[in-house]
């Protein structure tokens, strides 16, 4: 996520220096550096898994519930599948690919967590900018609806969306989008309300600029710092949410392995093979903690540099 946004802004050779300046602040913060290493570990693992995994993740080639060995580094699960291969493959649906419905097996780049967060960022930004910049009735109506949405317990919202639309990658993305948008909208609204008092917004208004231009070209670029940090935190939450849904058995559909589902399945044999539960749980938590640390460190550095 982070890598993506930054490379996008680095178009044109004159920006190369500013690009380097903006990422070098990551290394000023030890927290952000540690977080970034943890995230990159999983991102690299995800790319590797596209081309190579130790064994076929879905084949029951081994004895069930083996402990770690030279052959199966992390052991095997209750169906005799290699856990390491499944963990590696499991990163793909989160970070790298989204499977489109239908039997053709087509998938688009960008994992479910990434698309879900991008969705909530876009929807939340659109609503938040309108509420914050226009104010008045726009603000009232948008925020009332979003507040009503926030009032629902999150897990109930997930269940409602998935029960209504059935299982599938796109449905999970939609669920994450809908549950995430109100929070983003609140953040963007407060930023917009602050930014709209600045003189450069007056200058745009005295040029007779369109409201959409003012919202997206004048206000939004100045809100990107907090938004970037929030987006990164949200990727962590989204991974959590996917894990939770997988654990409940209504998450990402098979055949691809899903971390939450792995925990759920291994749970049944927890007394004979504890490690099968621990490995995917550890995967979820390291990735989420890594993203959190990265976001926290980055936020600290960004606010420190702000004048």
């Amino acid at each position: 996520m982070a890598v993506k946004t930054i490379t996008k802004s680095a178009s044109g050779p004159s920006r190369l220096q500013t690009f380097w300046d903006s990422i070098s602040i990551i290394f000023d913060s030890r927290v952000a550096t540690v977080g970034m290493i943890m995230v990159f570990f999983w991102v690299i693992l995800a790319f590797v898994s596209l081309f190579w995994t130790p064994y076929d993740p879905n084949a029951s080639d081994f004895i069930q519930n083996l402990g770690p060995s030279a052959e199966n580094w992390l052991g095997t699960d209750h169906l005799g599948r290699d856990i390491l291969s499944r963990l590696m493959q499991g990163t793909q649906v989160i970070l790298l690919k989204t499977r489109l419905p239908g039997d053709a097996g087509i998938s688009i780049p960008g994992g479910v967590a990434i698309w879900g967060v991008l969705g909530s960022l876009s929807l939340g930004t659109l609503l938040g900018l309108n509420a914050g910049y226009r104010g008045g009735w726009w603000d009232q109506i948008i925020m009332q609806v979003l507040d009503a949405l926030i009032a629902f317990p999150r897990i109930v919202l997930y269940l409602v969306v998935i029960a209504a639309l059935g299982q599938g990658d796109l449905v999970v993305i939609l669920a994450i989008t809908i549950t995430g948008a109100p929070g983003v909208a609140r953040l963007v609204r407060s930023l917009a309300m602050d930014i709209k008092t600045r003189d450069y917004i007056r200058a745009a208004e005295t040029r007779g600029e369109n409201v959409w231009f003012i919202m997206f070209r004048e206000i939004l670029p100045n809100a990107r710092g907090p938004l970037l940090v929030d987006g990164m935190l949200r990727v962590g939450y989204a991974i959590f949410a996917i894990g939770t849904l997988g654990f409940l058995g209504i998450g990402l559909p098979p055949p691809d392995p899903d971390w939450g589902n792995m925990v759920n399945e291994a749970r049944r044999n927890i007394f004979s093979n504890q490690l099968a539960v621990i490995w995917p749980a550890l995967a979820i938590s390291t990735l989420v903690i890594g993203l959190n640390l990265f976001a926290d460190g980055l936020r600290e550095e960004l606010t420190r540099y702000q004048k």
């Binding site: 003189d199 450069y200 007056r202 200058a203 005295t206 040029r207 007779g208 100045n222």
Partner: protein, 701 residues
């Protein structure tokens, strides 16, 4: 100097250096500052922002934050060393023997505590006084700072009294324990000029009465001239000159002091007869100070020795101290401006220019919603803030209208209405013959193009996300004044006209100084070649040396493009210097309007007279009439009947019945010659008999 004093000076700083630890090293914000303050003396410290004035004051009370410390030197308070004092001992000193008054009284007072409680705390904590007794002392002290209805004020919260009264409360609190030393850090900067004058009078009174030593920090040369006995001029963390106040203004020796005095307009000076000379360059940041003399790169007299050797503070026969190698040889009157800061020459105006803006009876009311139940359900009486009332004026092409008045008098609302950020309640406004009483969304693009605005705050005038070039190019794209391929060329042309140059094209706002940002703001306003530019306090947030450069730039622009300007400012000297016509506003009403020179000479409107007599003049020998307005500016929701100024008018007594008519009838416009109009019941003959406010202004410097 040589005479031995009986008591040690109240405060004595010797070679003090203050450093802040920052990432990757430390920064010496202040270097080798020495001065002393005796009882009953006010020591002024002047300088531009970032020169370390406040740091010196904080060092005295050891308030430098977690990363700052006094690196070298000693600070002695009544002969006792202050450096290194911490904990309980420091706490006992602060607020008891050393008191501070800061710039913004609203932030110095706790908004959730009654004023009486916060004030008496000083006595109960430091003196162990009983609450009853403490309150009695507070009331006495409030009365001594001329606070009306003192006992009642004690029960109020800070937001329930005006800014000037708040500052009085802060000063009274500071004086409660009869401190030996009072540190004042820009105490009047946030106040209006009439309030400022009253507070400055108060400070002078208190110094005489209490015999307190005062360290007075300000950037305003006029204020320092009024209050101080001695003045220290600070530049880039060093004290470059220290002398008595008369010497500093009459005979400034350091080139920086001379430059500072040259770049403020004198009250009464105008652009045709006088010029402002900015100091080139800017104050170097503390981590990047030049070797040798810190002022070297900006100095007109710089020589080889200045670049190599750091000058020491040297004493002169008249007891002034100057940090300059060549101070003896530099004569201020022989100075000639160098090429790069040469201001524009002003040619005469074409008198018969067409009228570009005609405003007739313009009104702007804002609706206010009360909080009573009746108001909530919509049955309450509708009330309005009468922000602008019956404004009428005409503006010929190529001239400048200056609008002055205290905060809340409706000057900003007036131009917001003209530009269309607000709609008009009633009245007519015609710009180039087109109606401009509607909001900007309903205006034609070609009309919007002709009306642009320059803003006050340099830090928020530019969008931090876009480069200078993009921001100046945007109006050209929007109004299609320039074809796409030529935009870059045109932007660079404008940048050059702003004296910024092509290399600024790709810079981001955070890489610019305040003055440079303001130049870009002006360039952006000019990019669509507007006929009328509205300037909302474009220089009031800038340092004086930069202010002079921006004013010169605006004059140049006006000459070149024949632009008409409406110029809002609260600084009367700047408005006088810059404008052809001046309008004085009070509570939304234009009180007096006319040619600039006519406003600043009799006949005066009583309010203009009071304003002028309040302006601090950067000349300690100038004689100024002493008129102080009483009370506060009334609320604009319920403005006084008749003449809006009658509640505070010092000239009302001149009319029969003690000016009964003033509170009953709206005054007529008295037409003096040359389009000079005064909104007053007093006949012109009486107004003419007023003496000029300022006499004996020394010419030149």
């Amino acid at each position: 100097m040589t005479e031995l004093k009986k008591a040690p000076p109240v405060l004595k700083l010797e070679d003090v250096a203050v450093a802040y630890k920052v990432r990757g090293g430390e920064i010496e914000a202040v270097q080798d500052v020495s001065f002393e303050i005796n009882r009953g003396e006010t020591h002024g410290i002047v300088g531009e922002s970032g020169c370390g004035k406040s740091t010196v004051a904080w060092a005295v009370v050891n308030f430098l934050g977690a990363n700052g410390y006094v690196k070298r030197g000693s600070i002695k308070f009544q002969g006792k060393e202050l450096v290194g004092v911490t904990g309980e001992e420091l706490r006992r000193l602060r607020g008891d023997q050393i008191a501070m008054v800061y710039q913004d009284p609203m932030q110095a007072l706790n908004p959730s505590m009654r004023l009486g409680d916060q004030m008496s705390e000083v006595l109960t904590v430091h003196r162990g006084m009983a609450q009853k007794e403490a309150e009695q002392r507070c009331i006495e002290m409030l009365e001594r700072v001329y606070m009306p209805d003192a006992a009642n004020v004690m029960k109020r919260f800070p937001h329930q009294i005006s800014g000037g009264q708040q500052q009085r409360v802060v000063i009274a609190t500071a004086l409660l324990n009869n401190p030996a030393l009072l540190l004042m850090d820009e105490p009047t900067t946030a106040l209006d000029v009439t309030v400022e004058a009253a507070v400055l009078d108060l400070i002078a009174d208190l110094r005489r009465e209490f015999d307190t030593a005062i360290m007075y920090i300000t950037h305003n040369l006029g204020v320092v001239a009024r209050v101080s006995t001695r003045v220290g001029v600070m530049y880039a963390g060093e004290m470059v000159e220290r002398a008595t106040v008369e010497e500093i203004y009459k005979n400034p020796r350091h080139p920086y002091t001379q430059g500072l005095i040259r770049c403020v307009p004198k009250l009464g000076a105008d652009k045709a007869k006088s010029v402002l000379y900015p100091i080139r360059g800017r104050v170097p940041p503390p981590n990047n100070r030049p070797a040798g003399c810190v002022f070297g790169p900006r100095c007109d007299y710089v020589q080889e020795r200045c670049r190599e050797e750091r000058p020491q503070l040297r004493e002169f026969p008249n007891a002034s101290l100057v940090r300059c190698h060549f101070a003896e040889e530099i004569v201020a009157s022989d100075w000639t401006p160098s090429e790069d800061i040469m201001p524009p020459s002003i040619t005469g105006k074409d008198v018969a220019a067409e009228t570009i803006l005609k405003v007739d009876d313009l009104k702007k009311y804002y609706k206010v919603t009360g909080s009573s139940l009746k108001d909530v359900i919509g049955l309450g009486e509708k009330r309005y803030v009468k922000a602008v009332e019956n404004a009428s004026f005409e503006l010929p092409r190529g001239t400048t209208l200056g609008v002055v008045g205290e905060s809340g008098c409706g000057k900003s609302t007036l131009i917001k209405t003209l530009i269309g950020l607000e709609d008009t309640t009633s009245g007519n406004a015609k710009f180039l013959g087109f109606d401009i009483t509607n909001e900007i969304a309903n205006r034609d693009l070609s009309l919007i193009q002709e009306l642009q605005m320059v803003f006050q705050n340099p830090d928020s005038t530019m969008n931090p996300s876009y480069t200078v070039g993009q921001q100046i190019a945007r109006p050209m794209e929007r109004f299609k004044t320039v074809s796409k391929e030529k935009i870059r060329e045109e932007v660079i042309k404008l940048l050059t006209a702003m004296r910024l140059g092509e290399n600024y094209y790709n810079r981001l706002p955070r890489q610019l100084s305040g003055g440079e940002k303001q130049r870009v703001g002006i360039a952006r306003a000019l990019a669509s070649h507007p006929d009328l530019v509205l300037c909302d306090e474009p220089v009031s947030a800038l340092d004086v040396s930069v202010q002079a450069a921006i004013l010169n730039l605006l004059l140049e622009v006006q000459q070149e493009f024949n632009t008409t300007l409406v110029f809002i400012a609260h600084d009367l000297s700047v408005v006088r210097f810059f404008s052809d016509q001046v309008a004085v506003m009070y509570l939304g009403q234009i009180m007096e309007i006319g040619p600039a020179d006519a406003i600043y000479a009799p006949p005066y409107h009583p309010y203009s007279e009071a304003l002028l007599s309040a302006v601090p003049i950067p000349d300690p020998t100038a004689k100024q009439k002493h008129i102080r307005l009483e009370g506060n500016v009334p609320s604009a929701i319920n403005p006084p009947s008749g003449c809006r100024f009658h509640t505070r008018c010092p000239r009302r007594e001149l009319l029969p019945d003690g000016g009964k008519i003033c509170s009953q009838e709206s005054p007529p416009w008295r037409e003096a010659d040359d389009g000079h109009r005064i909104f007053c019941h007093l006949p012109l003959e009486t107004l003419r008999t007023f003496d000029p406010v300022i006499t004996q202004l020394t010419e030149g410097s």
